[in-house]
């Protein structure tokens, strides 16, 4: 017998359940407990970059919106720099922009929104340009392990066409499931997205 490797095993995931808001967004559960709360607003008045709203729904296999889903997003700032010590790229760091937020869906409509900025493009390890994108993590009742996906932007056609991750998706038709559609609503820029958990236009999910 060789020496044992002795790696530990990752703790098993379990569903976040229907009452995930109690721990992660107590105000949605119906009470106020913490002095400081996390939210779906990533920007302050000082944040650099184009203000955008991300707005969408998560649909189940019958096309019905999940009304108890929780999303988190993780993104770079407008200069393409993540606020994390492992990102040593050249873009300017903004201490005030954490780059992370969480949102629960509306209990009636299932709508999920984030107020953020459009992230800058990132360069990967091999020196390739990656199209601007927002990393998304989805948990809910009935989801046993969080689902990872990305949102890209409809007005970045050329960058999207060259993006190394989008190009890994074999059926080209499936790539569009990750592209949020830009529109303007009373002067605000809104990117709309639909995440289909299951079925014909199923969103691409990643094993990251």
């Amino acid at each position: 017998m060789p020496q044992p490797l002795n790696y530990l095993k990752e703790t098993a995931s379990q569903t976040a359940g229907p009452y995930v808001h109690i721990g992660l967004i107590p105000a949605m559960a119906g009470f106020d407990i913490f002095e400081k709360n996390f939210s779906n607003v990533l920007v302050t008045s000082n944040t650099k970059g184009e203000r955008i709203t991300l707005e969408g729904r998560v649909l189940d296999g019958t096309g019905t919106p999940l009304r108890d889903v929780l999303l988190e997003i993780w993104q770079a700032n407008a200069a393409g720099r993540y606020n994390h010590p492992a990102d040593r790229s050249a873009g300017a760091l903004e201490e005030e922009f954490r780059g992370w937020g969480r949102a629960g869906s509306d209990f009636d409509s299932g709508l999920v929104t984030f107020e953020t900025i459009k992230p800058g493009a990132i360069t990967d390890k091999a020196g390739r340009k990656c199209a601007p994108h927002v990393n998304v993590w989805i948990v809910a009742r009935g989801i046993n392990i969080g689902l990872n996906t990305r949102l890209y932007f409809s007005d970045e056609e050329a960058a999207n066409a060259a993006d190394p991750v989008l190009n890994l998706i074999e059926p080209p038709l499936r790539r569009k499931t990750l592209v949020a559609t830009r529109s303007e609503r009373s002067g605000k820029v809104v990117y709309s997205f639909t995440i289909n958990l299951q079925g014909l236009e199923e969103t691409v999910f990643f094993d990251v």
Partner: protein, 262 residues
């Protein structure tokens, strides 16, 4: 993949770069999905319509996955890890007083320092403080049911609470959840993000729970069960349970002079 690969020669010295270990890219160990529940687990009925049917697309760790949000003590309040006091109105909550403590580790056994751990639970009667919970057991006026903590330099965390009760739910006609506490953990990169549930040693509802038994691996299931830890109990005050959480391992990085993760 090796971040150093393109620079074969140091132009100042005109000699080869010194050898650096080939795995120094900061990427995460491939997730072993056999220790996790499958997305589609029909015994847990709501997973049927909420599970993808297509295969996941595997992505090598990039800067988007290696990085993740950083939290600090400024994000927390002084009572955030004390569920006995953080919602107290006119006294302490009713129930078994317990301390839950443990370490957040990665698969290499290293503690994960300064990471955010969040937790939420029902009260001693199995009732959640949530507008959608209609179970007839009453809400406890002195119990909110949530808290959070940052791990210390060694990955250690602790909090104080009351032991939650089991509660019924609509799956089978007579389905009851074992007593459990939900945990949310961040780790150092977004790819380590994990939500799980902690159960209590000896609970007879554990082997019949359709959510817990979605986990195919018996050992992985056992690792979600916190043992009673008498050594950490406070005499005449609280029992203690120990719950260690393991996040994915990470390969060393050579971004900095001091190699991260070592």
């Amino acid at each position: 993949m090796n971040a150093q690969a393109p620079a074969l020669r140091d132009p100042r010295l005109n000699r080869p770069e010194p050898f650096t270990p080939p795995l120094g890219d900061g990427g995460f160990f491939q997730r072993d999905r056999s220790v996790h529940p499958p997305a589609h687990a029909p015994g847990y009925k709501s997973s049927v319509l909420r599970s993808p049917r297509q295969a996941l697309l595997s992505l090598e760790s990039s800067i988007s996955e290696i990085t993740g949000p950083v939290f600090g003590h400024n994000d927390l309040g002084p009572l955030d890890n004390d569920l006995i006091r953080n919602y107290a109105r006119d006294g302490d909550p009713v129930g078994e007083r317990i301390i839950v403590h443990g370490r957040v580790l990665d698969e290499t056994g290293r503690g994960v320092p300064n990471t955010l751990v969040e937790f939420w639970q029902a009260n001693a009667g199995g009732r959640y403080r949530h507008r959608k919970d209609t179970y007839l057991a009453p809400v406890d006026p002195n119990f909110g049911g949530c808290g959070r903590a940052l791990t210390d330099d060694t990955g250690y965390y602790y909090f104080r609470t009351v032991k939650p009760g089991p509660y019924p739910w609509r799956n089978y006609v007579n389905s009851w959840r074992p007593a459990h506490i939900h945990f949310s953990v961040f780790g150092s990169g977004f790819a380590q993000r994990l939500i799980t549930q902690m159960y209590f040693e000896g609970d007879p509802l554990i082997p019949v729970c359709p959510i817990l038994t979605t986990i195919p691996d018996k050992d992985a299931l056992d690792r979600l069960v916190a043992p009673l830890d008498l050594n950490a109990s406070t005499p005449f005050d609280s029992l203690a349970y120990r719950f260690d959480i393991v996040l994915r391992g990470q390969r060393s990085t050579y971004f900095e002079n001091r190699t991260a993760g070592n």
